[in-house]
Amino acid sequence: MSVYRLDYLDQLESEAIHIMREVAGQFERPALLFSGGKDSITLVHLALKAFRPGKFPFPLVHIDTGHNFPEALDFRDALAERIGEKLIVRQVADTIQKRQLTEPKGKFASRNALQTYTLLDTIEEFGFDACIGGARRDEEKARAKERIFSVRDEFGQWNPKLQRPELWNTYNGRINKGENVRVFPISNWTELDIWNYIKRENIDLPSIYFAHERTVLEYENQLIALSEFIQVEETDVVVTKKVRYRTVGDMTCTAAVESDASTINDIIREITATKTSERGETRIDDKVSEAAMEDRKKNGYF
C-alpha cells in the first residue's frame, strides 16, 4: 500500500468526522444522542477528534428508559464528566406520567417503544434540528436503506419512499420548521469495524461488554438478566453464567451471550467466528415481524 493511501478504518473515521462537522456547520441546535452503548461511545470519541481543542457544538442527550444497566449509566456520567461536555438526560417515566401513556405489560415489558415519545418531547423542548445517532446500516435491512442525513417530519416519522437523493459527500441538511434530521456518521461501519476501532483507539467501554458472572433467565434460547423490570415465574430457569453483552440496550430487551471473552481481542475473535447477527442474537424487540424496524422507524424511532 502506498504512503498516501488510508487504511479502511482511517477512511471510515475521516468520513464520520466529516459528517459530524457538516452537522456543526449546517445546523443551529444539534444534539448527539447518547445511549451508553459502544456505538454512541464511538461517536463521542469521533466528536473529540472532530472538534477538539474546541467544545462540542452539541450536548449529549440520553433518553433514559429507567430500564438501563446501572453500569451503562455510571459509565455515561463518568464519560460526560471526563470530557467536560454537557449531558442532558430525560426520563421515559416522566413522559409516561405527563402524557398518560400506558406502561407495557408482560414478562419482559419493554419501554423501548415509549422512548420515541420522550425523544420527540426532548427534541421539541430544546428545539433540536439535528440528532446525531450511532445507527449502522449493517444492523438491519431497513437501516441499510437509510440516508446519512435522514429527514424526519414533526412527528419524527421516516418516509422511506421520499428519501432525498444523497450524492457524493454532499449533505443537504435544509429542513422546514418543525422537521429535524437524524444524522448517522457511522452508517458505513460494521460491528466488526467498531470493535477493531475500539481496539485501535483504546476506547473505554462499560464493563458489561466483557465476560462477567451474571444471574440470568433462560428464555427461548436467550439469556435475560435478572432484574426488577422482568417478571420471573416459578417455572422459569434461572442460572448463573459467564456472559457478556454484544449490544447494550434496555435490560428488558437486550439478551446476553455466553462468553469467556474478557478482552477486546477475545471479543473480536468471537465476533469474527460468530454465525449470528448482532441484533438477531441480542435484541428481543426485532423478532416480531419482517418489517419490525421499518415500522418503528416510520413512527419516529431512532
Binding site: E22, G25, A50, E166, L167, R174, S277, G280
Partner: protein
C-alpha cells in the same frame, strides 16, 4: 486493509440481487438468523429454494413487489479488502437512485444477461457510470448456464460492449462470464469456463488497483467549520476544519483561499489533535494559516500551484431528480461540498437520451430522471474543477428553496 465501494445496477430479472446474495453467501457474510428469515420468506415462493435476492430488498414495498426501489448498502469483508456495496435499482424510473448510488462508487458491476446481450438497459447503466465517472467498470455476463457456457456468446457480447465503452470513453473495462444462480466465477473460479483465464469476480474486486483513483496533485480543502475555543489558554487558536478532498498538504505550503483569492501559508496541520508534517486525501484535518484572514465555511483552501476554476457561470450535465419538471429560469440553491449559493437555470441546451446517447436540442418537458446539459448562473462565484477531471470538486446538488428537497445532481463540465 483497503476499502472498495462498488455499485451493482440492474433489475431482479438480471440476477443482480442473486449476484449480491451469492457474494455475501459464498464469502460467508450472511448470518444464520438472516438466513433463517430468508428461508421463511422463500417458502412463500413456489420453487422452495432459498431466494438470495430477498436479502437485499429491505423495504416492505420492495419485498411485496419483488423490485428494488432505493439504494441499499451492504457490507462484507475478505482478508484482503472491506467492501461496501451500493445495491441500486436498474429500472429507468429509478435512475435517480442509481445516480445516488453511483456517485460514491469506485467500481460498477454492469450485469448483462447472456441470452440478451447488450441491450438498452446495459447502455443506460453504462452512460450513468460514465457520467458519474466511476473509475472501474466490470461487465459481468450473467446466466452463462442458460447459453451452455458458450465462449462464442461471451465473445460476441464483449465485442458489442467494447463499442459502447469506446463511445462513452470508459477508462477501464473488464469482462467476466458468470452464473450468479449457480455461483460460477463468483467467489471461486468455475470449471465451466475452461476458455476463460481471468479471475473470479471476487478475486477481481479484491485486486483492482485503487491507488490512482484519488488525485494527489490538485489539492482541494473545503472549509467545513472553524474551530475557535476562545479560552484563556487557546486565545489565538483558529483552526480550519475540513476534509482534504484531493491532494497533499504540507507544512509551509503556499495556499490560496478561494473564491476570495487571498494567498497565505500553512503553518500547522493537525490530524486527530496531533500536529503532523503533511496530510493527504481523504483525511479529515485542521489547517492553520500564517495570516489572520477571514475564512468561513464554504471557502476552499487550495495549493497555489494548482488552482481550480472560479466562476459564477457553470456548464453542467444535470440529472433531474424531482417530480416537478425542470424549467429554464427556475431558481435553486446550488451546493458544492460545504458551499451553498443561490443559482438560476439560465439555459437548457439539450436533453441526453440515456438509452441512445442522442442529444435532443431544446427539450420541452424535462421530468424526473431526465439528464440535460444546462447553463447555471450563480449569485456568487463557485470554486470547482471539471467533474470528469476531479470528481471530488466537480459535483454539485440543486436544492429546492421552498421544499428543501434535493432536486438535481450536476456534473460540472
Amino acid at each position: 486493509m483497503d476499502l472498495l465501494r462498488f455499485i451493482t445496477a440492474g433489475s431482479v430479472d438480471d440476477g443482480k440481487s442473486t449476484l449480491i446474495g451469492r457474494l455475501l453467501y459464498d464469502s460467508k457474510s450472511i448470518m444464520i438468523d438472516h438466513l433463517e428469515a430468508l428461508e421463511k420468506q422463500s417458502k412463500h415462493k413456489e420453487d422452495g429454494e432459498i431466494d438470495l435476492a430477498l436479502l437485499t430488498d429491505g423495504l416492505r414495498a420492495e419485498r411485496e413487489q419483488g423490485i428494488t426501489i432505493d439504494v441499499a448498502y451492504k457490507y462484507f469483508a475478505t482478508p484482503k479488502r472491506k467492501f461496501i456495496i451500493a445495491d441500486a435499482p436498474g429500472h429507468i424510473q429509478y435512475t435517480r437512485n442509481m445516480v445516488t448510488g453511483a456517485s460514491n462508487a469506485d467500481l460498477a458491476i454492469i450485469l448483462v444477461d447472456a441470452r440478451n446481450g447488450v441491450v438498452e438497459q446495459t447502455r443506460r447503466h453504462s452512460i450513468i457510470a460514465s457520467l458519474l465517472n466511476i473509475p472501474h467498470i466490470v461487465v459481468a455476463i450473467n446466466k452463462m448456464d442458460l447459453v451452455d457456457h458458450s465462449q462464442d456468446v461471451y465473445n460476441n457480447i464483449v465485442i458489442d460492449y467494447a463499442e459502447v465503452a469506446k463511445k462513452l470513453n470508459l477508462k477501464e473495462v473488464k469482462f467476466i462470464p458468470i452464473s450468479a444462480l449457480n455461483g460460477d466465477n463468483i467467489v471461486e473460479k468455475s470449471v465451466q469456463f475452461p476458455w476463460y483465464d481471468g479471475p473470479s469476480l471476487l478475486e477481481l474486486l479484491e485486486t483492482v488497483t485503487l491507488e490512482q483513483d484519488i488525485d494527489l496533485t490538485r489539492a482541494r480543502f473545503p472549509v467545513q467549520y472553524v474551530i475557535r475555543p476562545q479560552t484563556d489558554a487557546l486565545h489565538d487558536y483558529r483552526g480550519y476544519a475540513g476534509k482534504i478532498n484531493s491532494g497533499i498538504y504540507k507544512k509551509g505550503d503556499a495556499v490560496t483561499v478561494l473564491p476570495a483569492g487571498i494567498v497565505s501559508k500553512i503553518v500547522a496541520i493537525e490530524v486527530n489533535g496531533k500536529e503532523v508534517e503533511e496530510a493527504f486525501a481523504p483525511q479529515s484535518v485542521v489547517l492553520h494559516l500564517e495570516d489572520d484572514i477571514d475564512i468561513s465555511r464554504g471557502d476552499v483552501i487550495v495549493k497555489t500551484d494548482a488552482a481550480p476554476q472560479v466562476s459564477n457561470e457553470l456548464e453542467v450535465l444535470l440529472c433531474w431528480m424531482d417530480q416537478k419538471p425542470l424549467l429554464s429560469g427556475n431558481k435553486y440553491l446550488l451546493q458544492i461540498n460545504s458551499k451553498q449559493v443561490r443559482s438560476v437555470i439560465k439555459e437548457i441546451d439539450y436533453q441526453l437520451d440515456v438509452n441512445s446517447l442522442e442529444k435532443i436540442p431544446h427539450p420541452e418537458n424535462i421530468g424526473l430522471n431526465a439528464i440535460v446539459k444546462a447553463t447555471i448562473k450563480t449569485a456568487s462565484p463557485v470554486v470547482f474543477d471539471p467533474y470528469q477531471e476531479l470528481r471530488s470538486n466537480g459535483g454539485a446538488i440543486l436544492i429546492d428553496e421552498t421544499s428543501h428537497v434535493t432536486v438535481g445532481a450536476c456534473m460540472i463540465q
